[in-house]
Amino acid sequence: MGQFFYQFFGIGWQGFLDIALNSYILFRLYVLFRGTNVLRVLLAMGVFWALRQVAVSLGLVVTSWAMQGVIAVAALVIIIVFRNEISAVLLTRDLKSFFWGIPRYQRNTPVNIIVESVYELARKKIGALIVLPLNQGLENAVQEGISWQGKLSKEMLVSIFWGDNPVHDGAAIIQGDKITNVGVILPLSKRTDLPSYFGTRHRAAVGLTEQTDSLVIVVSEERGKITLVKDSQVYDINDSRVFEKLLITHAGQDSAAAGVKKHTRELAAAAAICLICVTGLWMSFSRGMETLSTHTVPIEFVKSDQDMEIFSSSTSSVTLLLSGSRPLIRALQPDRITVKLNLANTAPGTRKLSVSRSTVTLPPGIEIKNIEPTMVEVTVDVPVQKRLPIQPLWTGQLSKNLIMTQATTSPETVSVIGPEQVLTHMDTLFTEALSLDDITASSGTMAARIALKPPTLRLEDQEKEAVQVSYIIQNRKAAPL
């Protein structure tokens, strides 16, 4: 599998895992911070980072330095200014939603029940404050409250705001199809442009929407009017259809199937962007971090003339100093590196061939820093066969009163195969050294091996490498002159 990746993309499986993992992390960050200002600032940081990279590549020292400063400040801004959003994301979600789940808008909020309940409350002039959170948590914006966790129904909602209910003064929070908290105290807005007839409920609704992305419904106790507040904007509700549409839009349920499609498309686009960004980053980092590695690679000789043979080579391998990104170097398989020396058009004899970069094949992304050795001496020739006599190679010293009058080998000749240029100038094969020191007055025989020099030679019959050497020893007749 890793080989497949490597073959087609020049990236090892580690690279793919690295990219996939970080793409998912980035995607999760997007999902968790979607709709908040944190994401916008993060995107701005990404733009600044890209600009810094461009500035660095263009050699704009001051600009790159400034961009780096902006990024650093933006990181601080995110932590300090958006601490509420960050803590809300980190604290309000369970592990599943943190690592895997995709939070939807309030998909299952029974909007019709809310509409009916609110109208019922308005009709009965029962003051009410209902909060429908979106993505941002409320924990840091609201105070107190009592956990309710009751299934939403018209009766339930009306009864919560009934005058004799101890929690009727606070706000009720609806998440999905549940009333999660009641008696919640909301932050009051300090705006001065609000109508004078707005009471504490309205001011609290506006205050919460100033800090969060929630939608708040207010039912006026005195006037029996319904007011909807979203993003600090106040809407007076006179038409139940408009009211319902606004709720549906907030809950993300507008045109059901179309909404799901749009949501899916958005997530898919985000996932693709995350993948592209991380891949780009990975490439940037991996290309930038150069790693050196030494590899010893066997030389492959390519010959076109089938009659030619390689009889010897000064080396059978070369040492390559390679550079590339660490993942590529670590994933580099020895069989992916080849060194091929072409012997086509090479005349018979001993030739020096250059081992250049063009003779080395490497996977993409890997470069050669050094080749050792850069020259290979190779002996190529047409193999010929020649019958040569064998001569004993005597060493040592024969006793002074003895002389060796005859020395023959059996067989006297052998057939040898070797380079034409070598054998043309060769008339004798010698045995390995035979010592005279142990030879006494008697004649005899001894076994000897044929010394094949140069080593490019070989015997036609390999079994005849050993020969018998017979010698005749006589006493010296007279002192030499």
């Binding site: 006599p389 008339d427 002159l481």
Partner: protein, 146 residues
């Protein structure tokens, strides 16, 4: 080097055949007469030896000590139909060290060449005896040792 090798070669002898060849003359290796019809000398004796005494090889051998100082290659021809030239080519292993040109006179003739030995000359040697037409008549193999 060649000059030095040449100087090391002592070329000798054009001796009367009657003096040189007696009844003990021994034909070690004899080549047939040339097929071309031209009269060629016949090699009847060839040997490596430690010395030449009274026109005969002394202590024929195939192994010689460097301490001898020199080594001889002796050749005898009978008949020698006409004046001709032969060569003694001295090789150490397969490297030609020197070539001695020897003149033969009718009716029969003996000649020898010699090589002075140095410490570096230890190893396997051969002397090729070739006629004026470069035909190999005989190869003598020997070794120079301690």
């Amino acid at each position: 080097m060649k000059l030095f090798s040449f100087m090391r070669i002592c070329l000798l002898l054009f001796l009367p055949a009657a003096v040189f060849f007696g009844p003990h003359a021994r034909a070690q290796d004899v080549l047939p007469q040339g097929q071309s019809g031209l009269k060629q000398p016949v090699l009847v004796e060839a040997a490596m030896c430690e010395a030449i005494e009274r026109f005969k090889p002394v202590n024929q051998a195939v192994v010689f000590s460097i301490s001898l100082g020199r080594v001889f290659c002796f050749t005898g021809f009978d008949p020698v139909p006409e004046e001709t030239t032969i060569y003694h080519r001295w090789y150490k292993q397969d490297r030609l060290i020197s070539s001695a040109r020897l003149v033969l006179n009718p009716p029969k003739w003996s000649s020898f060449s010699t090589m002075q030995l140095r410490e570096a000359d230890k190893g396997p040697w051969r002397v090729e005896i070739v006629d004026s037409r470069n035909n190999l008549m005989k190869t003598l193999r020997f070794s120079i040792v301690d």
